[in-house]
């Protein structure tokens, strides 16, 4: 398949089941809501070493938030419910509770509840106050700038993590420009995050390493400087490869995000140095979710 001179490989991305949650951070203004959200979703690019994958889903207007202030919707993904709950709580405690004027609310409903402010309340040292408003439990925790208002719990849902595609270009600036265009479009899709810095990862990995201590290492087949030194997947004109990883609530959400992302890359086309779109997989043996590029773009 070729779109605007860009070859779409007959391959697929392989993704895994994950557990996910969503929270809404509000603040006095959008600037401080974003600062708090960035702190909460920082160091959360990959479950390999961060414990979770997290990102800002979108910025919310005051009429979309529970307390009528500007806000940000963030999502966190982890391999299991226990890990997710731990990450959510420590991040909320260190990054949102501490952030000036912030408040924290549940962003998703589910039968399975995980603590949001339920345990952070103990920071109040006995001065915390519970309020049940419209059937939901909140905690008011006295802090130095006033009160930190937080909902007690949020929902935990089944989700999909690890959807991806690779952008193969003639130069590094061209690969980055294409990825930036893709991310801009993909951020408009609800229920997904792209957890890497700016949504783009330049150090895609393969499973395993020559070093016993490591379980992942550089994806040498897609490293342009190793074209003559390893079994490369790259043709001579490819000088740079970048990857976009997508976590979403459902397979359909990731499908949509991949479609608009790949389309944005293809819109730049071969004229802008974009040669191929590929994807990372493990032969289909590890992850139950397969995203076939050509089917998605059909």
């Amino acid at each position: 398949m070729i779109i605007n001179g860009v070859t779409i490989d007959a391959t697929f991305a392989e993704a895994f089941p994950m557990k996910a949650t969503r929270a809404i951070i509000t603040a006095q203004n959008e600037k401080w809501a974003i600062i708090s959200a960035q702190a909460m979703t920082g160091f959360a690019t990959s479950v390999i070493a961060c414990g979770c994958e997290a990102g800002i889903e979108r910025v919310l207007s005051p009429d979309e938030t529970p307390d009528g202030r500007p806000g940000v919707s963030i999502m966190i993904f982890a391999m299991g419910g226990k890990g997710l709950a731990k990450q959510l709580e420590t991040r909320a405690g260190q990054c949102v509770l501490t952030s000036p004027t912030s408040a924290l609310f549940a962003g998703i409903d589910s039968d399975i509840k995980i603590p949001l402010g339920k345990n952070l309340r103990y920071f109040g040292d006995g001065f915390q106050i519970a309020k049940v408003l419209a059937g939901k439990r909140y905690w008011r925790i006295p802090v130095m700038d006033g009160e930190f208002l937080t909902e007690a719990t949020t929902g935990q849902v089944n989700a999909v993590g690890g959807g991806n595609f690779l952008v193969l270009a003639e130069s590094q600036p061209q690969a980055l420009a294409a990825c930036e265009a893709a991310i801009e479009e993909m951020r408009k899709i609800p229920n997904v995050i792209m957890p890497f810095p700016g949504g783009v990862v330049r150090s895609g990995s393969k499973v395993g390493s020559k070093y016993k201590a490591l379980n992942a290492s550089t994806n040498d087949a897609f490293c342009p400087t190793l074209k003559g030194a390893t079994k490369s997947d790259l043709s001579p004109e490819i000088e740079s490869v970048m990857e976009i990883v997508i976590d979403g609530l459902t397979k359909e959400d990731i499908d949509k995000a991949m479609r608009v992302g790949i389309q944005a890359v293809c819109n730049l086309g071969a004229a802008n140095g974009i040669k191929r779109i590929s994807a990372g997989n493990y032969g289909g043996k590890l992850g139950p979710f397969h995203f076939h590029l050509q089917e998605i773009m059909a």
Partner: protein, 270 residues
């Protein structure tokens, strides 16, 4: 299916225990069976059809017409469905209700909504003492749900209140919020003496400055983020509390009762 309607024929001399006439007890009963239910009145038992004309068949929607202040225990332990009282209600209205809603077009007596667990109680007129309170000797009053009083409330509103919300559009008598352990009481009108007497936790939200005991300490003026959400939760009510013009988020905060735990608060509109 029209509402099951009990229209009072004559006012009995003695008080009447109306507790058998709740939705969950009447569900699936034939009209003749309902008519044969005996209600305690003083030391006598009276059949329902001796006291009331009965019409309609929807046992989940009950209407009591020509009600007066001697009909006690209306809606006791109600667990789903609705009861509309046209006229006044006696003591122990909506005592211990678990779910459902009860509306009274007139006044209610003592202990309305006492030990209520969940659900909704609306009183268009005034109500007596111990609204949402605990029965004598008990340590826990209302544990959940919402009570709306459009008129005035008597003394000891929310005595031993554990959880839930009491909204009073008019005035509240002495000892409002006494011994409460949590929950919220909001009073738009005036409050009496000994406000929040021995309260441990919970919130008293006031539109007018109260006379506070010396065991309440001033914590200063604050803008509280939870207040807009609290008022938003009242937006669907048929009440002045739903009017955004009466909402506020700037308050004078007093902590107390320092003679007790001191974790309660009185918030007064600024």
């Amino acid at each position: 299916m029209s509402a099951l309607t009990f229209t009072l024929k004559t006012r009995p001399a003695q008080r009447v225990d109306m507790s058998p006439l709740v939705c969950q007890h009447l569900q699936g009963m034939e009209p003749a069976e309902i008519a044969a239910i005996e209600l305690q009145s003083g030391k006598c038992k009276l059949r329902v059809d001796e006291l009331f004309n009965i019409s309609g068949s929807d046992t989940q929607t009950i209407v009591i017409k020509n009600s007066f202040e001697k009909l006690d225990f209306i809606g006791k332990d109600l667990d789903g469905g609705s009861i509309m009282v046209e006229g006044d209600a006696g003591a122990y209205l909506a005592m211990g209700i678990k779910s459902g809603d009860i509306k009274v077009s007139g006044n209610a007596g003592l202990y309305a909504g006492c030990e209520m667990k969940k659900g909704y109680l609306e009183i268009a007129g005034n109500t007596g003492d111990f609204l949402g309170g605990a029965l004598p000797g008990n340590k826990m009053g209302m544990k959940g749900g919402l009570i709306l009083v459009k008129g005035n409330a008597g003394e000891r509103v929310g005595d031993h209140l554990r959880r839930g919300t009491i909204l009073i559009e008019g005035n509240a008598g002495d000892y409002c919020g006494s011994r409460m352990t949590a929950g919220t009481i909001a009073v738009m009108g005036q409050t009496g003496r000994y406000l929040g007497y021995a309260m441990r936790r919970g919130t008293l939200l006031l539109w007018n400055p109260p006379t506070l005991s010396t065991s309440f300490n001033d914590c200063g003026t604050h803008t509280l983020a939870f207040l807009p959400m609290l008022f938003k939760a009242f937006a669907a009510l048929n009440s002045r509390f739903a009017d955004s013009a009466v909402a506020f988020n700037r308050v004078q905060r007093y902590a107390g009762d320092m003679a007790e735990m001191g974790r309660g608060e009185v918030l007064v509109r600024r």
